[in-house]
Point group: C2
Chain length 482, copies 2
């Protein structure tokens, strides 16, 4: 790339000091007809452009306004003012394109503060704000760290199918995919919908998980991971749910449950460390924002730690590993449970844990990330390995402060007969998953994996609270704008 970004100019200013350079960007602010704060998206920091307005064409100066796009040629000098090391003394300014200020003032680009709700309605413009610039740069860093971690550890990236004929996993409600003209759906002789005439020759859906296909890949390539979109057609209008979200699912041949927990812990710590090391400016901004937010809350609801402090603490300690059975014992005798403070009181072993219980364990009892394992088989999926107690399965959930479950995974059931029995018990169609069962027929091996929702992790790292604010164009009930 030949063009210098503002990030490069600010970072390596010694290389360009007292030289003329060319920079490009958008005006974030224009003070006193003299000081332009220019931003090009490469960093949260603006480059100050000093305009000696008496020496410029007044028509050009009059067009410089918030959101204007400029090309600036000028000399890099040490800055007189506070807040920046260097600035540019403009010699030439070119207005790059239209900026209709009257219309602009009806958008979030007008120079005042806007609520997150309003910013969300203009998701195509929010990339230009400090907050969303920071969030999406951090999201990039999280994604890149994920690929880097797996690549370093000899995992292969596998693209599992998005459109799928399998709807057996039961991870959630699915969206249908069809090429039919909905006004004219073909019927067979019995009067049923004739899916044989649809594009794929069968009923198809959007995937809810790439795990099962991922397992088949791991049975040949050893260590694989997916990183792709998954879908839930659930009518959940909450701050934690999206109809379309990105999931990362590693799967490792020869790994058992303990290896799987080790992998999850190493993985999360690597990614968070990477973001701390590579997104300093953005995190400092988000950290300050987080602190401000806390001030507006009642004291009992305030976070105990700052954002960066929280991230540092999470990676400093070993995650606490606790069996489901131990967790139930802790919950049963907790003051919260005895005093009826849980919405769902814990009555006995076998109860499904709710977010309130997970957060009690993480935030109050252990005060660190917790890995729960060996859950009752009834509350977990069919493919999880049955333990020798015949009551629990080798499942694991990683619980994080403020978020609850951030990773869910398991060692998989590698024994064909046990798997078939589980599928029958749980009404999973064996014939539809013939290919999945094949992996247990031919050289079956112990293996394990987990799923991470990318947006949950980005929420955690950025300190944002609504999942719609950490994905560029959120898809939720009644909302597919853009």
């Amino acid at each position: 790339m030949k063009k210098q970004t503002i990030k490069e100019v600010l970072q390596d200013y010694k290389k360009v000091l007292h030289h003329d350079i060319t920079v490009y960007g958008w005006v974030r602010a224009f003070r006193s007809n003299r000081f332009i704060a220019l931003n090009d998206g490469s960093t949260i920091n603006n480059l100050q452009i000093v305009v000696d307005f008496e020496n410029f064409d007044p028509e050009i100066v009059s067009k410089i306004s918030t959101a204007s796009s400029l090309k600036v040629v000028g000399e890099v000098v040490e800055s007189q003012g506070a807040g920046q090391t260097v600035e540019i003394i403009a010699k030439k300014i070119i207005i790059l394109g239209d900026n209709f200020t009257e219309e602009r003032d009806k958008t979030i680009l007008q120079p005042k503060k806007h609520s997150l709700e309003v910013l969300r309605e203009q998701a195509h413009l929010r990339f230009r704000t400090n907050l969303f610039g920071a969030v999406f740069r951090v999201r990039h860093a999280v994604s890149f760290a994920i690929h880097s971690f797996f690549n370093k550890n000899q995992f292969f990236y596998i693209n599992t199918p998005i459109v799928t004929g399998a709807d057996a996993e039961g991870a959630g409600e699915m969206f249908g995919v069809t090429n039919f003209d909905l006004n004219n759906i073909p019927r067979d002789e019995q009067g049923d919908i004739d899916f044989a005439q649809d594009f794929f020759g069968k009923k198809t859906n959007l995937t809810v998980s790439g795990q099962l296909e991922g397992e088949t890949a791991a049975m040949g390539l050893g260590r694989i991971y997916t990183f792709g979109p998954t879908f839930r057609a659930e009518n959940s209008n909450t701050t934690r749910h999206l109809a379309e979200f990105w999931m990362i699912e590693p799967e490792v041949a020869f790994n058992n449950l303990e290896d799987n927990i080790d992998l999850a812990e190493d993985f999360l710590k690597y990614v968070i460390r990477y973001v701390l090391d590579n997104c300093k400016d953005d995190l400092e901004f988000l950290d300050k924002r987080f602190e401000e937010e806390q001030k507006s809350k009642p004291e009992k609801d305030r976070a105990k730690e700052g954002l960066i402090e929280k991230l540092e603490n999470v990676i400093a300690k070993r995650f606490k590993r606790v069996s489901y059975t131990e967790a139930i014992e802790i919950l049963l005798i907790s003051k919260e449970n005895k005093k009826g403070k849980f919405v769902y009181p814990i009555e006995e072993w076998g109860a499904d844990l709710q977010s309130e219980h997970e957060r009690f364990l993480v935030e109050k009892h252990f005060e660190c990330p917790v890995v729960l394992f060996d859950y009752p088989k009834e509350i977990k999926a069919f493919y999880m390995k049955l333990n020798d107690d015949n009551k629990t399965v080798a499942a694991m959930d990683v619980l994080f402060p403020g978020i609850g479950e951030i990773i869910g995974g398991s060692e998989r059931e590698a024994r064909l007969d046990v798997l078939k029995t589980k599928m029958a018990e749980m009404h999973v169609d064996e014939h539809e998953l013939w290919w999945y069962l094949d992996t247990r027929r031919f050289g079956s091996v112990p293996h394990a994996g987990f799923g991470l929702g990318l947006e949950r992790l980005v929420l955690f790292v950025t300190g944002m609270t609504n999942i719609r604010d950490v994905i560029p164009f959120p898809r939720t009930p009644k909302n597919a704008e853009f």
Copy 2:
């Protein structure tokens, strides 16, 4: 990761020589009741395990067969035989799971050669073959190189939506996404389908491109790229088309057409160099396979270069940059055109170029990758920048030997009035793309980008010829198995 992969053992054998180690894998071959070729997917190379069968439980030895899964403990020694540096003298062998050899012999896992068609029908098992192991390891390397290139160059990864309400781009036929019960589709008072009652409250489709949303992100973050699945509901049963494929779309604020061509060339060369440097063993295997394939062809159809040679040549030379107008002149006076050898003869300026013309330019005329630019506006999309001649747009296509178009892109039309006129001419709904037009209203800037089909590039790098063989689970008309 605590477990050693076979790749690590073979690469760093000096660290483990004369030590006992534990390895895991699947049996690729078992010769003379003595020599096991063990593979764990980490590399195309097998690790030889020497079994002194007289000292082993005959029941275990009898279970060792092609596709069996093993855990082996043994000493690493220098190999006596040819073909490997080290081997393992087995001390302990554990059979890890079932391997039903009778059923296995009805699958592609039986020890004999199978056609690519048969392998495709058992896509869940083909990861275990040498060929598909190599293809999917190379696919991983290509993907990782793409992320690395963009990260190094300060691009941010953006996830554009998969389910979209916009169907204005017209890049191809779209799949519908719905939550309706197709047996009971709600109607409004006029008797029309009431999409307001569908999950997203409107008619939605699977995306054909993330470009338009990507442009809005580039207008804030500067340099972005997408890497995600895209869809075409086209009934094309060819070796070059998939209904679901992965696309990479960078978009760069402040770039013009020339910058865009430079970026495409740097990008492709970086990725190919990375694969050459990081997939040596797999490429050597694919190179030999490619050579064998050529032998079975009539001499005139044989490739002039070997696979690795082709890759080295592509990155050695500067891509030839040729305007569409020059290309037409070359084609018009070519022997092929005059002698009627093209299925679609070139008659005049304005003709759309077919694959046969592109391949003539690349393979016969220039004998190197070619970048064509400045195409007639009538044959290109509405968002491409209109040149001053008022006849052509600032489009570019990168053409590769054997593949034809591998990248298509353009400088975008940044002028609001010109863009609106183009949209009206091409019947693109302005109201539906209100958000896209906003990027031209507020600080519009020159910008440019392109699209790369991941599978096309993997085809080129692996020397495979059917696009269904470079994606794990291909989606094509009447086919959505797995």
